[in-house]
């Protein structure tokens, strides 16, 4: 995923504008043809096309699932157990895309989302679904807090890329172990009734997992829609696409940046709560998922935000399919890490060229 292309690139001296500002017309006589070619030559990509292909693929998989037990299990368990991965990756990708920061401390936003939910649930006596959103909001506020207290200051002090990552790594570990002081060392569980099992495509799934899947899907759609459809979402995308041009169009960077950190934190916190209700909440909840989130974002982000969602879904299903096959989850992680690293080697973002030689 490209970092926002800076307008009038502030860090590059005045250079010959040859490359992009090419005057391409041939002799003047061909001018008329060019106009025709320009207005009708290229047929713009239809946004609906990709979606319909994916829908067709999904339908195909469901049909396949009804025929094969293995496919059915992979699909259903993969989707329900790893649903939160998509949410987490979406939030992380948003942050990465706008700020260019690979925020390792995002792991703790996820963890804290889980803890906030447990804490609210046990102290207020509310049910899980009543505390999910407040927990997400708290995680969002925490995310904004870390931006204001640390990353904003760091950016102003012109801390380098490598140092930024080291800082987020340090913050991650500080929060992770700080959590152990605050919340204790015990693994915590949500107090929920023993679930009923519902059969989907012939695979038994606990009811709350289905609800969690539905909620995660709904929240992912909501967050995606917020980014794609609303006024603030538009400003977020504009700022991510071209920071300078967005500012010159009147977009106030601080407001929008705070919003990004909040939405990213919200998504992470919600993911944490759903991870937590699926198994348990522990200080390592987020950091166990971090590598997978990082890989999904880096690989999916080669395309765009929707790419992150699809790579996330595919990863979840592949993880389950391989676990079913090998009988051990660790092997599937191993295969996935190798696969992702291979993709990164081939298509990953290149070293930024400090010098155009």
């Amino acid at each position: 995923m490209d970092r926002p292309a800076r307008l009038a690139s502030t860090d590059e001296p005045a250079v010959d504008r040859d490359v992009a500002a090419q005057h391409v017309e041939g002799p003047t006589t061909s001018g008329h043809h060019n106009v025709v070619a320009e207005s009708s030559g290229r047929s713009p990509r239809r946004p609906g096309r990709t979606t319909s292909i994916l829908v067709a693929a999904a339908v195909g998989l469901v049909v396949l699932a009804s025929l094969s037990d293995f496919v059915a299990k992979s699909l259903v368990i993969g989707a329900t157990e790893n649903a939160a991965l998509v949410l987490a990756a979406l939030g992380f990708a948003l942050l990465y895309r706008l700020t260019g920061l690979l925020n390792v401390a995002y792991a703790e936003t996820i963890t804290l989302g889980g803890y906030f939910a447990v804490w609210l649930s046990s102290s207020l006596g509310w049910g899980f679904y009543a505390v999910v959103l407040p927990a997400g909001i708290l995680a969002g506020l925490l995310s904004v807090g870390t931006y204001l207290a640390i990353f904003r200051v760091a950016k102003r002090r012109r801390v380098g890329d490598l140092e930024m990552i080291a800082m987020s790594f340090g913050l991650s570990i500080f929060l992770r172990h700080g959590l152990q002081f605050i919340f204790g060392y015990q693994v915590q569980f949500f107090d929920i009734a023993p679930p009923d099992t519902i059969s989907v495509l012939g695979v038994g799934v606990p009811s709350f997992r289905l609800l969690a899947l539905a909620s995660v899907a709904l929240l992912s759609i909501l967050i995606y829609q917020f980014i794609q459809r609303t006024r603030y979402g538009l400003q977020i995308r504009a700022l991510a696409s071209n920071e300078g041009l967005a500012q010159a169009s009147g977009v106030r960077p601080l407001t929008v940046t705070l919003l990004i950190w909040f939405v990213a934190g919200l998504a992470g916190g919600l993911a944490g709560a759903f991870y937590g209700v699926g198994s348990s909440v522990s200080p390592l909840l987020g950091s166990r998922q971090l590598l997978l989130v990082l890989l999904v974002v880096l690989v999916g982000g080669i395309w765009d935000l929707l790419g992150v969602v699809w790579v996330g879904v595919a990863t979840g299903i592949a993880l389950t399919a391989m676990t079913l096959q090998f009988g051990d989850g660790l092997y599937s992680s191993l295969v996935l890490i190798f696969a992702f690293l291979a993709v990164l080697k081939v298509r990953g973002r290149r070293l930024t060229a400090g010098t155009k030689v």
Binding site: A8, H23, R231, Q235, S241, Q247, A248, S249, G250
Partner: protein, 238 residues
């Protein structure tokens, strides 16, 4: 022309600017009133740097910029945009991942004017855009994306429009169309236009006054009617 007592719409005083510690502009003075003001100059003269500095995207190392008498030297770009500067850079002038409608909406987010009214005015100027609103801006042709870029700036309801090489890379028919539109925007809406142009002949067709930049220094401001080939050749060092 404004009343003698009124301050010029845009006033630049001893402007120094550049990238990092590389100076590009080395002391520019000029004032722009309600007019079409063209900045000429060869490749590398600092035209793009000047407009980006006026849009407040590059730091001013010395000197000042005043907009309608108000000092905006220390303002960030998002605030000068709200004060009435519309900026169309030469490169990366659109958000390629956003649709045409979204590109225009970004410009329409400031000010009191309802979005529909702004859109209507943009479509009046660029009718071609009307049936392209749903397309991804990055998929448009060069001329169309230039229209989107201009339209986005017009949506801000600017008092000054900064156009960086508005016709570079366009086919001759588009070039003619664009200069016509520029004249229209100025006369029809009273928007002051500051544009840079490498091709002196084209600029002289539309501009009221011109200034030639060479290696970060400006020549005296010439009224378009007074410009001769020899004066131009001298300013261009040809």
């Amino acid at each position: 022309m404004a009343e003698p007592s009124a301050p010029p719409i845009l006033e630049v005083d001893g402007l120094h600017s550049g990238y990092g510690d590389v100076p590009v502009l080395k002391g520019l003075d000029f004032a722009v009133d309600s007019e079409v003001f063209a900045i000429l100059g060869a490749n590398g003269a600092g035209k793009t740097t000047l407009l980006a500095t006026l849009a407040r995207l590059l730091p001013v190392t010395d000197g000042s910029i005043r907009l309608g008498g108000k000092d905006v030297t220390a303002h960030p770009a998002s605030e000068t945009a709200r004060l009435g500067i519309g900026y169309v850079p030469q490169e990366a002038a659109i958000f390629p991942d956003l649709t045409v409608f979204e590109n225009l909406s970004i410009g329409g987010m400031i000010g009191e004017r309802p979005l529909e009214q702004g859109l209507e005015e943009v479509f009046e100027t660029f009718p071609d855009l009307r049936d392209k609103v749903g397309l991804r801006a990055g998929d448009l042709s060069g001329g169309e994306s230039r229209m989107v870029a201009c339209g986005r700036a017009l949506m801000q309801d600017p008092s000054v429009l900064l156009l960086d090489e508005p016709t570079a890379g366009l086919s001759p028919l588009y070039v003619e169309l664009f200069f016509q539109k520029i004249a229209e925007i100025h006369s029809g809406r009273g928007v002051t236009i500051v544009l840079t142009e490498q091709n002196a002949t084209l600029a002289l067709g539309v501009a009221d006054r011109v200034m030639v930049l060479s290696l970060g220094l400006g020549s005296e401001v010439m009224t378009a009617a007074d410009v001769t080939t020899d004066r131009l050749k001298e300013a261009y060092k040809l």
